[in-house]
Symmetry: C2
Subunit: 331 residues, 2 copies
Amino acid sequence: MPARPIHLHIENALRKPSIYHITPERWEAACARHRALARRLRVTIGWDGDTPDEALRTAEMIIGVPAPRDHLSARAPALRWMHATSAGIDGLLPLDWLPRGVAFTNNRGAHGVKAGQFMRMAFTMLHTRMPQIIANQLARHWEQLFSSSLAGRTALIVGLGDLGEAAARAAKQLGLEVIGVRRTARKSRYADAVHPYFRLDRLLPKADFVVLAVPLTPETHNLLSRERLALMKSTAGVINISRAAVADYAALTEKLQRGELAGAILDVVDPEPLPAASPLWDVPNLIITPHISCDDGEHYVDISLDLWFENLARFLQNKPLRQRVDPRRGY
Amino acid sequence: MPARPIHLHIENALRKPSIYHITPERWEAACARHRALARRLRVTIGWDGDTPDEALRTAEMIIGVPAPRDHLSARAPALRWMHATSAGIDGLLPLDWLPRGVAFTNNRGAHGVKAGQFMRMAFTMLHTRMPQIIANQLARHWEQLFSSSLAGRTALIVGLGDLGEAAARAAKQLGLEVIGVRRTARKSRYADAVHPYFRLDRLLPKADFVVLAVPLTPETHNLLSRERLALMKSTAGVINISRAAVADYAALTEKLQRGELAGAILDVVDPEPLPAASPLWDVPNLIITPHISCDDGEHYVDISLDLWFENLARFLQNKPLRQRVDPRRGY
């Protein structure tokens, strides 16, 4: 006799770009790649909280976080596993709304290929002086700004999770010396050396590139502060693929305006969308990319669901889930 | 008894950027890397033709091409080998000024590392829609233009010399399918397939990227013509690291203005420096880089002289020189 089907509810947010929507078509395609596992499931798909509470009542798993999140233990009493479709869950902190005993996973692991591609581009654009070359083009000004090879420059990667490891790998591929910084000094596959956060002040003066790839938590808020920015070389560049609040953008702006930094590429700003009136848009040698660095524009849902199905196999075998969020750390 | 020293004359052009100047310091540094060979030479260094004809009279080798070039066989009767410090020698064609029996080499081989780095950046910038993202930033407009991974896209590399091979290698590193085009169908190390020029019309509709890396000769002039541009996908991009005259920039401009191409990165324009009044500066989705794609801004002379010394060893052993220009082909 087959086991009783497990109710999975998928909750989509229409306000998010369509690349993130788990449509019935994308879900079916994932099921076709994971037939045996998919057969164990009964699935409901909701959009922007249009799911009646009745559907939530029997859900044992949810992909996406329903809004509102209050009283979830009463509304979804069967819930055992909830999965966020993004890697950053800073918008959901603190996790006091998460019912006790419910496993919470995020989407780390889905961003490495795209993030690595973006980081190789970003390192090379800064090194090749593209911010200045683009400004010269706007000014109709021809100036041969030459650059050497990237090899031998030093990248300081702050945060060595999914994105940080992708950045470190990209840096190694370009021949850079890679220094990693994370909470602990635990080793990394691609960093030549790893230090804990409290060493940052000593490491910043060595960096030709500083990459911000940390999750945003109370601990990492304003990590690249005005005081720390002041420790950087004037020839160095900053790349942020994490969250705006991990750096002091006002101080960064002033440094760029004074020519005390070579350039910056910011994939994250606050708020997003960035309003037309924001002073960030025309800071010299600053390139703003609209939060597109790490999410595959065609296959984000496919990649994410493949990771989720791998975790489902572990769930069904009572193995510990991967990508699990630690509620105390907040990522 | 030591062999009589060979007179090498080095001719610099002050109008060229300083990264190209073979200064006494750079020459001495190269000699220190090639001591035994350097000991065979007697060297004079000239700037902008300030060398008296007396110096040329005994020169058996010249690095750089003296201006004026007329009557060289009378002015430099001992000359056996002349070396151009650039890879492109289209500005010196036709080679009717070259005395008979004088070997003429160019600087191919000195550009691969930098060209590969630039090409990886250029492919990724076009794929990531950076031209549009930069335009949006100027317009203070937030729009999440997502992109997928590069892998599986098709690059059509036109010309498979030093630069084309570097472009093909870069494309393979990014997971692209690489189709090469050259005079013959001779194989390439990095291209998945190689075709002769006359197949271009059939290949252009397949390309997501068209890279121009041919030497400029009468045969390649206007190779990417208006008619051929019309064969490209509207989602494709063009990258030119060769010479402006190999493509029809007026037709390219019109296609970009009509949105019939995704973007272009042009490292070469005509004339250079590009005058402020040129209509090229503000063509939509066009990025102009100021002829900086392939020349290392710190080590161009070092790299070039190392190649020259390798050739000097061959010269002294009466072996055929590498990087030799074929006067009939013009490169």
